[in-house]
Symmetry: C2
Subunit: 370 residues, 2 copies
């Protein structure tokens, strides 16, 4: 059904297999920093107009790949499609963040929640298939979802938040209701990701963007436990290929060892984490098991002159150290990324310099040891 | 000059000396959640009208102590007094955060920066002396300042920020300019804190509120190094009493071991940190050296019903474990606090329940082991 994959560097690195260079992709790589994205968005009329239109979603997903030799594509979509399909009424006011028409803060609202009919999310799965076809095997396609906790933050707050007061008030006051929301979210996310896998996603990523706002102890109960519940329901493979799973908790560096036993392949980390230390904690040994690591350049370093930016990129690669190079076994691997989504103000030519620097320096690292 | 101290629990805990209960105070304890604070602020006309008026600043500093048996008072002031005294023109628009009339983003602006004349900050030191007198020995008075990095964030951004794009652009592009700003800030902060100590502050706290937004590697160079530079210049004692130093880096839990060798007495931590793990890393042993720990209840837990709130407070105390109780030596101690400033929406009666729970449970913890 789909063309054979030409560049499997990213998938190999996810599975802790040796690669000739360190693969790179960037969170939010299809986005406002690209003039061609802004053109397509203008045609679509709105952000959701873009995300719900299969041709537009396909077009913008491929735009960064036409500019840069990135090693993976990621579905262009929004993190809040699932609660929207639950009937909460997602909208984006111009220049503002997402808003829900309804929020979920009491027993009655929780009682109405259910895993949504996946037909309401058909536009997402159609986009996955369309993008996968359009990629024509150039690089693998990553599907994604927000984590159960991160979705719950938006659902309870009714939009973005500075202080997470509403969602934490519910969590501390009515943990029973919070657990019900999270259980429904987890089952919805698992079904959503499995349907993306069936539609053509070759890897999946769970964005726990707000896990890091939780107190120690609460993170484990209200975020990690439900990420685990998602993972336990995910398909392991599709059409004979393993589908790697990535879990990214922004601000979760302190809980890495507790994430080490998640049934996933890759842990994403933000820029506060030292990759060398993370590798020592969860990266495993050559021939043993462990997690691949994804990250973690500060997106703001893309505002530096190219020379300084490339020095920062090399520093990130060096902090991970030499990935294993033994093709006969698995071992520690690194997938280069930012520690958060790319800024809309990023100069596009700096991204070109970054991708080139990561490819060149990571090849050199491997050659210097062989 | 000042009345003798009646409750030295907080100062003893700072210095890792045994206490009969775990002392508690709350960041931003004099603030908008108290109706009497809102009354005084209305009289003062504005936030800076309050902070610059010695009698008003004294009044609001003492308000929470009249309600709750807290173990320390903290100077009521703003974190941005020092850059204001540097001539940047601080203002607060109604309902918005702080704004500077000038920002510091280029060589010319940096060239104009200097350690300000402390006479411009006389209102702060007068407030310290006035508060210390008004306290009349009830509890110790804590002075404070923003860290060099945190002040620099506001100075370069020109106010608050979501993404720290301007300050990080400068840091990654012109590290030389950033280092000059930070060196000036460090010397200014040291002078500012020493003058607070001379005016009557019995402990000092450095708020590195934005240290946690830095990448690993950058935090050490651009925040920690300048906190160290402040500490190296601080007075160790005043009028024969040791003046403890507290360093609080929000989001700094990953760097605790690197903060262990700071020349300070207490490390403050936010709610993402497990106090038991932090104690194992930096708390030291009985009879040995180490840091006292301050924190770390999630301020949002104050929105829970009192029973759940008190359970959370006990959980925080239990996570630290039994403080040492040997009066003849030093050992691990805990100062109870929030992991960040108290929310303006907090019900005041919940604070009363929290203080009582911390005092009661921490006494019980000690008695259960003796």
């Amino acid at each position: 059904m789909f063309a054979p994959l030409q560049n499997d560097t990213f998938l190999r690195a996810c599975l802790r297999q040796a690669t000739a260079h360190t693969p790179i992709w960037l969170m939010r790589q299809a986005g406002r920093y690209l003039p061609e994205y802004r053109d397509t968005r203008a045609k679509a009329g709105s952000f959701m107009g873009l995300a719900t239109h299969v041709d537009y979603a396909t077009e913008v997903t491929l735009q960064p790949l036409d500019r840069y030799p990135l090693d993976a594509a990621i579905l262009f979509s929004d993190i809040l499609t699932v609660p929207d399909a639950m009937g909460l009424g997602l909208s984006f006011a111009l220049g503002e963040g997402p808003k829900f028409a309804k929020h979920v803060r009491d027993e009655a609202a929780v009682a109405q929640l259910a895993v949504p009919d996946m037909n309401k999310l058909r536009y997402v799965f159609d986009a996955v298939t369309s993008i996968r076809k359009a990629l024509n095997g150039r690089v693998p396609l990553i599907g994604f979802s927000g984590s159960p906790w991160t979705l719950a933050c938006y659902m309870v707050e009714g939009g973005g938040s500075d202080d997470y007061r509403q969602v934490k008030t519910l969590m501390y006051s009515r943990p029973d209701l919070m657990h019900r929301i999270l259980a429904i979210n987890a089952d919805a996310v698992a079904l959503y990701l499995n349907t993306q896998i069936e539609a053509g996603a070759q890897a999946v990523m769970i964005f726990d963007s707000w896990g890091g706002v939780l107190a120690d102890g609460m993170f484990q109960q209200f975020s990690l436990a439900y990420t685990r519940r998602v993972l336990s329901q995910l398909k392991r493979s599709q059409d004979g290929s393993v589908v790697p799973r990535i879990v990214f908790t922004k601000g979760g560096g302190l809980w890495l060892t507790e994430m080490a036993d998640l049934d996933c392949d890759v842990l994403g980390v933000d820029w506060t984490v030292n990759l060398g230390q993370a590798r020592a904690l969860v990266g495993g040994e050559v021939g043993g098991s462990g997690k691949a690591l994804q990250g973690n350049l500060d997106p703001n370093s893309l505002f530096a002159p190219q020379e300084a930016l490339c020095a920062e990129a090399r520093r990130v690669l060096d902090s991970f150290g030499q990935p294993h190079t033994d093709a006969s076994t698995r071992g520690p691997t690194h997938i280069f990324n930012l520690g958060h989504g790319i800024s809309q103000f990023t100069p596009p030519e700096h991204v070109a310099a970054l991708v080139e620097a990561v490819h060149a320096h990571s090849k050199m690292l491997r050659n210097s040891q062989s």
